[in-house]
């Protein structure tokens, strides 16, 4: 597969690993804030391979983990309404809200459909004018253009039966929050390559000046990740703190203008709660007043209960410490005992991209590894 296979090349990856080892004179602490990068790092064993050279912290980069439980609960309430068809990315289905997951609700008769794209949800709304189609709009800046486009299409089509439950989050404010908290150990960042594909990386110029940590825009394939790590280590070794683009085949400094315009038009920046971290100022997106009619929270005001800016932390779960890299998952007293992927206490154990879930998989014999949170019976293939 072009532009994929070349960046999974074994020889190139091995030489990059060697180069990183040769370059580092001490162990550096890097953070990536992207579930997709976490997934790839784990899948290819990059974190394990570089263990002595780099400590790779998996930050709060997985929208699945950071979507507030209350939002998931609200989505479940909507799904149980007769008139609603709730549509969602597959990632969200297993994640438990306060009590159960969307998959559990679907098994109980709730109308939940997986879609690959929010634009498919618009098509569903056209196809089923008798149903209220709600799309659960989670994700970082990478995904916001797609949901914004969905709203624009619904608007032009004059659809009265399409709305969004918006739970988009923005990654840079979370990075700032992590760097500002006492006890922060992060020395360099791998910036999420597809977020930057949309936003560009100009906004990191002031960031590196203020915080004096390198920010390296990094892709997702093993070679891309190793390139990003190598560049970060090189900067740290030479005392530099710059923004560098190591994913230039996809990322331009100015980002994607068309995408940014679409997002600007539909969304405004807002203070929103992140599961496990509390409210992050400017940490998310909400629909602009002009598009309020597409807001499922408004349209279905009578459903569930709403509180403005709830602080969402689970007692006993030190999620903030783990996601910021101040505490290793294995150091948490609940890890592996009261808190497992089957019965997660908080955000980082919730999805397989979460830092704690990832640790759990590697630290226990695979025969004992439990199913991820909210797993249901295998869906029928026969």
């Amino acid at each position: 597969m072009k532009y994929v296979d070349e960046f999974r090349d074994t020889r190139a990856a091995r030489r990059l690993v060697d180069d990183i080892r040769r370059t580092a004179t001490r162990r550096w602490v890097l953070m990536e804030v992207c579930g997709g990068q976490t997934h790839s790092l784990l899948r290819h064993g990059i974190e394990e391979e570089l263990r002595e050279t780099v400590e790779l912290i998996h930050g709060p980069g997985c929208p699945v983990c950071v979507t507030p439980a209350e939002d998931i609960d609200f989505a479940q309430q909507l799904a149980l309404r007769e008139d609603v068809l709730l549509t969602s990315f597959g990632d969200m289905l297993r994640v438990p809200g306060t009590r159960e997951s969307l998959l559990d609700v679907r098994a109980a008769g709730g109308q939940v459909r997986i879609v690959y794209s929010p634009l498919d949800a618009v098509a569903l709304a056209q196809k089923h004018p008798d149903r209220q189609v709600v799309f659960f709009a989670v994700g970082f800046e990478t995904t916001a253009p797609a949901t914004a486009l969905a709203v624009r299409q619904a608007e032009q089509l004059g659809l009265e039966n399409f709305s969004l439950l918006v739970s988009h989050v923005r990654v840079q404010p979370a990075m700032e929050s992590i760097l500002r908290s006492p006890g922060n150990r992060v020395e360099g960042f791998l910036a999420a390559g597809h977020v930057c594909t949309i936003t560009g990386f100009d906004s990191y110029v002031d960031f590196v000046r203020e915080f004096r940590v390198p920010v390296v825009v990094t892709g997702f394939e093993p070679v891309d990740l190793l390139e990003g790590i190598r560049e970060c280590v090189r900067q740290l070794e030479s005392g530099r703190a710059e923004v560098t683009n190591c994913y230039a085949r996809s990322v331009r400094r100015e980002g994607n203008r068309h995408a940014l315009v679409a997002v600007e038009q539909v969304y405004r920046i807002a203070d929103v709660p992140w599961r496990g971290l509390g409210v992050i100022p400017s940490g998310g997106l909400r629909l602009r007043p002009e598009y309020a009619r597409f807001d499922a929270r408004r349209r279905f005001e009578d459903t569930g209960c709403e509180e403005e800016l709830p602080v969402i932390t689970t007692p006993d779960c030190p999620a903030a410490e783990v996601l910021a890299g101040r505490m290793r998952p294995s150091d948490c007293p609940q890890f592996g005992s009261r808190c497992t992927p089957d019965s997660p206490l908080g955000a980082p154990m919730v999805s397989s991209e979460g830092a704690c879930a990832a640790y759990f998989r590697y630290r226990t014999p695979a025969v004992d590894a439990s199913q991820p949170a909210g797993a249901s019976q295998p869906e029928a293939t026969r």
Partner: protein
């Protein structure tokens, strides 16, 4: 976050700024993708697709630069010492001031 997969633009189906769509090929399958964010993508070009929309046009030259650098790395018998890393041009990237 951000599973984005490169695919080749096979055929434009609609050039509308909001509803623009094209058939994009990924290994052995094609899917209709929304192209509002890459209205200038040409047939034969590669785009990165996330959640059904193309979010960037792949810069083939940049990709080739990186691959060249990797091949060079591959052929080197002796890699440059770490202290030369700050000034060497082998890093695929632009630096901001």
């Amino acid at each position: 976050m951000c599973l984005g997969v490169p695919g080749q633009v096979v055929e434009w189906l609609d050039r509308d700024p909001v509803f623009g769509r094209a058939s994009v090929e990924f290994a052995g399958v094609r899917r209709v993708c929304h192209m509002a964010c890459v209205p200038d993508a040409e047939v034969g070009e590669y785009v990165i697709v996330h959640a059904g929309i193309a979010i960037s046009r792949i810069d083939a030259e940049q990709a080739e630069r990186l691959l060249d650098e990797l091949r060079t790395l591959d052929m080197d018998d002796e890699l440059p010492p770490p202290t030369a890393a700050a000034s060497d041009d082998a890093t695929a990237g632009e630096r901001s001031p």
